[in-house]
Symmetry: C2
Subunit: 252 residues, 2 copies
């Protein structure tokens, strides 16, 4: 299963994909941090003739092309503007059947969009306006899609966990008991490790690599603590929301 | 000048941008290497109803959106499908006037497209077909745009070198003497350093980062020698082609 052509729905293969997506996310944040905040790109009516914001228009346009190219034919790829998307023009390997139909309806992208633009981006990008709006929102979309993919991978995580304890989960699902579900899904030790690891990745990938051997970097392109916080405040909780939402519909 | 809001046309600021783009390129290659080669995405008539290849269609579609959003209003951003692009809908900071008009007409993207798809990609991606066409070509476009940006930055490099020796360059330009121009532009020591550095970046950014301290990685996501070769065979020579082409038109 999953994006890497591995058809084995196992916790280990899912774990490998999630770890790989940590790299993707850190890379994408480093790329976005090269530009200033560029606020006009995010507000309605910054540009004459635009009825929505610049980033809305950009993301809608690119998502249309990607939809025609079949991007949203798998459970972990979810559009930010799902309305009015054109159908796929190709029949690639349609992976939407890999999970029960419950998977298709789980989409927390509104929350991702909201926290990324309103809370996270002002912490990531330096204040100011360098005029590179197209490059900035293009970099934003890479960040948003990587984060969304990571979070919606929770559908697979939930499915595997469900299969490992069908009775326990089914009882909680039937009782609509989200507290028990959340407890079953939470592993604080693993979460702490993930937060530590993504911070470490920010130090490794965000250093200035030079040919000299003495590298005592203390200055990183993206603050490691901010990457850890991204996971702590948003990525991990939203992944668990996806897992719970998915499970609540799992027996329908 | 340049994408980072720095208005100072100096060799040092250009050098910083080029070094930053090395990171961007290595990140993008690592991301593309997560998918198989996926050949059907690159051949005409793989999909019913398509008159061009899947990647052509994808890149044309995304470039249209990016053109409307003003991406190509600066000298180092050059489209792969320049025909029939819609005009920009916004007036951001139009940076196309930063360099003499000569800059606008220099575009080696055909060569970049050719070497990337026909020679480089089969070395980068594992053989096989995982069905993730939309994600693969999306990752390709990130690679292609990063490489293209790096190479077309040669316009700035050439301008700064020209200004540092107006007489020497002008004589060679008037004589249409590309050999002398190429010699003036070539610094083998710097080129050797760049090739070494990008290989090192591939080892740093392409390692599996874990929480344990003992990291004796010998297995990297992208072969460091391949990244070095990318620069040796294609990026550096094409950058110099851009520089020469730019200079030959510099006095027009």
């Amino acid at each position: 299963m999953g994006s890497n052509g591995d058809d084995n729905l196992s916790l280990d293969s899912i774990r490998q994909t999630l770890i790989g997506l940590e790299d993707t996310i850190v890379f994408s944040l480093i790329e976005r941090s090269k530009f200033h905040l560029n606020s006009p790109a995010y507000h309605n009516a910054s540009f004459p003739g635009f009825t929505s914001s610049f980033i809305d228009r950009f993301v809608q346009g690119v998502e249309s092309v990607q939809a025609q190219c079949g991007r949203y034919q798998c459970p972990e790829e979810v559009p930010f503007f799902p309305n009015d998307l054109p159908p796929s023009l190709i029949r690639g390997r349609n992976r939407s059947q890999e999970l029960p139909p419950a998977a298709a309806s789980v989409n927390v992208n509104k929350n991702i969009w909201g926290f990324y633009l309103n809370k996270f981006l002002p912490l990531l990008a330096a204040k100011g306006d360098d005029g590179n709006y197209a490059l900035s929102v293009s970099a934003d979309l890479v960040c948003l899609q990587a984060i969304s993919r990571r979070i919606h991978y929770g559908k697979y995580v939930a499915e595997v966990k469900f299969r490992s304890d069908v009775e326990g989960y089914s009882a909680a699902i039937r009782a609509n008991d989200t507290v028990t579900l959340m407890n079953l899904l939470t592993d604080e030790k693993v979460e702490a490790m993930v937060k530590q690891r993504v911070a470490k990745k920010a130090t490794v990938f965000g250093q200035d690599v030079t040919l000299s051997d003495t590298n005592n970097a203390t200055d990183f392109k993206v603050d490691p603590a901010l990457v850890s916080r991204l996971y702590d405040e948003w990525v991990i909780p939203l992944t668990k929301d996806v897992e719970v939402e998915y499970l609540l519909r799992r027996l329908d």
